[in-house]
């Protein structure tokens, strides 16, 4: 299973298997492949504030 990442600000978990379709990230997208300007859909934190879950 691919590595999940969790937002340090609000606990939102990015799961590559699920992606984030509502933000235009299709299921199967690896963390590394998400654009750098993507932000947490829950609280708006940048990618740099996510940690491996």
């Amino acid at each position: 299973m691919e590595q999940k990442y969790q937002c340090d600000i609000c606990d939102y978990v990015y799961d590559p298997a699920v992606g984030c379709p509502e933000e235009g990230i299709p299921p199967g997208t690896l963390w590394e492949d998400i654009p750098d300007d993507w932000v947490c859909p829950e609280c708006g934190a940048p990618k740099s504030l996510f940690s491996p879950e």
Partner: protein, 346 residues
Amino acid sequence: MTQTRDLTSITPGNLQVGMYVVLPSGWLDHPFLRNQFQIKDPDQLKKLQDCGFENVRVDLKRSKLPKRPAEDAPTESANEAAVLDPKLCDDLPQWNPDNLVPEQLLESLHDKKIPPEQRSKAVYSHSRELMNRLLESPTAENLKASKQAISSVTDLILSDDATAINMLRITDHDFYTYTHSVNVGVTSIMVAKALFGQSDRHDMHELGAGFFLHDLGKVNIRQEVINKPGRLDDTEMRHMRTHPYKGFKLLEKSGQLSEESRIIILQHHERADGSGYPKQLHDREIHIYGKICCIADVYDALTAERSYKKALQPFEALKLMKAQMADHFNKELFERFVMLMGGIPR
């Protein structure tokens, strides 16, 4: 004994703890803030019996009486069962706006005849009970009800120096979030009072609520993390550090605090040197309300006992903050804080 509709009229001598009384007149005629309430303890019963009423109406359906169905009328001998059976408390409703605010808090807030020392003790301990209940049931309606009570506590702190200073002297230092909430609330309001004086540019009621509710987000932190005896590991710490945002969102959804006041909840762990969380803001980016709460929060954490450390005395806490944490705080604000806290007679 006469019965009218659902109310039963009985003599004061036959009242007992657990009865839900409906007083005959306006609140000017008795020392209680509400006209209808459940008698909570023998003290309150005695106070009620001393009011000089000939009869008091009791709503038996809303009463919680030991060893008898609520529909039964009490008899002369009912007086023997003066204390509410704790087992009967199990079916009491969860906290709601009707029972959230302790009756004694309202009474001690409004009774100006109580000496400052006694009044501060009563307001402090019943404020803790209020926060305890609120953190158990943090619904939007309860937040609204608590906000009104906190406004009255804020007014007392702003208007009555003797009582307010005494509240700071008697603070408890256990590890409960509700105790910490009241300590930080009272301390922060005192700091805001010293800084802002009579300026009408600051809504002190909103501010007071924000200070008391600064740790509200902890209701959404896992219990095993909140109650862990000892230091948190990295994962637990990351989870714990989400509480400012979670509290901020909870209040935003409830619509109960102004935007400016919600910032207190979001920013109370930000530090002037950018080493705080959640956003690692720097001094100039942190709202003054967030800075006030941050200093009060650290001070209370240091003077409180934890499973992994002893409580520091006020002076030791201030010394440690100056020696080791000076970069965390706005310098000017910290100096004001030291002057304020250092000036309180112990």
